[in-house]
Symmetry: C2
Subunit: 333 residues, 2 copies
Amino acid sequence: MATLSDVAAEAGVSPTAVSRYLNNRIDLPQATRDRIDAAIAKLDYRPNLLARRLSTGKSEAIALVTPDIANPFFAELAAAVERQAHASGYSVYITSTGGHADAEINAIRRMADSHVDGLIMTTNRVDDGSLAGLLAGRENVVLLDEDIVGVSVPRVFVDNAEGAYLAAKHLIEMGHKDIALIGGPHRLMSVNERLAGFTRAMDEAGLPVRPGWVLLGDYTRDYGAAAASVLLDAVDLPTAILACSDYIAIGVLQVVREHGLSIPGDISLVGFDDMAFAALVDPPLTTIRQPVAAMGELAVKHLLALLEGQTPPAETRLPVELVTRQSVAAPSR
Amino acid sequence: MATLSDVAAEAGVSPTAVSRYLNNRIDLPQATRDRIDAAIAKLDYRPNLLARRLSTGKSEAIALVTPDIANPFFAELAAAVERQAHASGYSVYITSTGGHADAEINAIRRMADSHVDGLIMTTNRVDDGSLAGLLAGRENVVLLDEDIVGVSVPRVFVDNAEGAYLAAKHLIEMGHKDIALIGGPHRLMSVNERLAGFTRAMDEAGLPVRPGWVLLGDYTRDYGAAAASVLLDAVDLPTAILACSDYIAIGVLQVVREHGLSIPGDISLVGFDDMAFAALVDPPLTTIRQPVAAMGELAVKHLLALLEGQTPPAETRLPVELVTRQSVAAPSR
DNA sequence: TTGGCTATGTAAAGCGCTTTACTAGCGATA
DNA sequence: TATCGCTAGTAAAGCGCTTTACATAGCCAA
């Protein structure tokens, strides 16, 4: 690999001149510029980014740490982050942690050690304080999608409460009164908020939120199935289920079918996220759409603003919308 | 941030000693080790990876360049690559290119400039020679999933021909004779091979491959829909369609339904890939499963072998399997 | 003729680490 | 006593770049 010095020698100037020329920090006469350009072309010179980063202390790169890149939600988020970052000349380094606390900590450490300029953090656990400790006080972090309590960095979330409210209201307007909610991990911000939105809709309609019909566990298909089993094995059944993620919804779908019931014939179902498969399942899922791409883009914008010393909003809420398909009908009972 | 020298000063030894101690290149008496450890703890020292990489010329990191991380196939591949690389102490930097030639080239360049030790390349286009030019002769690259002609680096593929053969044979055994194939981009290796496997199965059964029933375009839902429209608007219809990807298959699904036909009642359908949604669509899709995780793991293993100067197999074919669900039935006509 | 300005650069230090040589001191050995 | 070998380190160069401070030549004005 040719180095800057090689180019300088070839062009008959000093390395300083070449460096400053390449970084637009010097005005050179045309003849000199031509010689340098020729030398670069001849030697196929490409600057060593590592050396540059070490020297300047800037990397023009950001990291995205994510629980699981194989999860389409985070994958889409990652794609959006990358698109937006590239548009601003930044590279992005994506890591997935598997959702384990120690892996998250390692990932953050490793990224910091590799000297990325900033970090976008998504998680799907509730933190025990260790993440907060690592992240607190940093000026180059933004939180995306899910909160970490005690970390006062810019945050980009979706309007979770509104989403659940819209979903519940839709069910209520279709005539449902007996509505159950299946949600993600207890105490996770999005879960709290979705539960709150659900409760508000029920309250407004004068409908009770039955404790036995609020099941909190995981944003997974398996948990959806397990929770649906609990619901369906009880003596009285809800006429509708609000699943706090589309993954939960397909678990519900499967179990409902296994119980010989039909959706939406016997039970109506609303999901959350509008993942790509939501339109493809049988029946196509009525769900709450999250603006995934916008979330990723905004997170990058806020991070880059932060890096430039500006002060992006402490918290941004992106709007969600109800997408009606065919998993909701009027109650038959 | 504390540096090595800070630690050395704190511990009352030279930076050399600390460096060599941390890299296990020196035996120090317990007392000295304790002083260094204490200094590290006190200063919360973490080595600067950039500096280390610049100095050693090794990065303990590999890059994965991929057309689109938002595509669950590549996302799953990425997750597997990351898992396996981490297990060997390597970081991985994932980039997606959007499937554009220049973006691919940029990505490869950028990765090379950031001095990753090696590169795993996946693509979904047929190369015009520019990628081949960039990659040819490199000793630290492996190709995954799709070939780039003229690049003689280790390759990890799936047994495409066998997959299509199994799918076609399954249809034939169910009684189908009029079978169409909808495939990805013309001249892409996987497409060629799947077409070949299809043809072999038809030949063995003494069945003709009708040129009008072989449609090549893209591995996308849109193309699947477009191709299905062509097929269904003709005078005589196939009784079965072999879609060379599950994305194509769902496009087909949609169009078949729009034509008032049912799957598998009127037309049987087999997909390829066994993406997560294949089991969720209506009807659940019979498809060919690719061992995605194994592909990613093997690519990493072969790359690391390469980096250690070993010679992994020039080409590995991973087996596929037929997953029967409910999109195939005996022909009604 | 001198002083100063502009144009065109360069020398050298430094980013934080690794690594190759080298060495001071000391006990044991011949 | 001179030498050897071992222990416990160290000095300094180098990875490839950036950046600060300085330098020289030529020209113009006073």
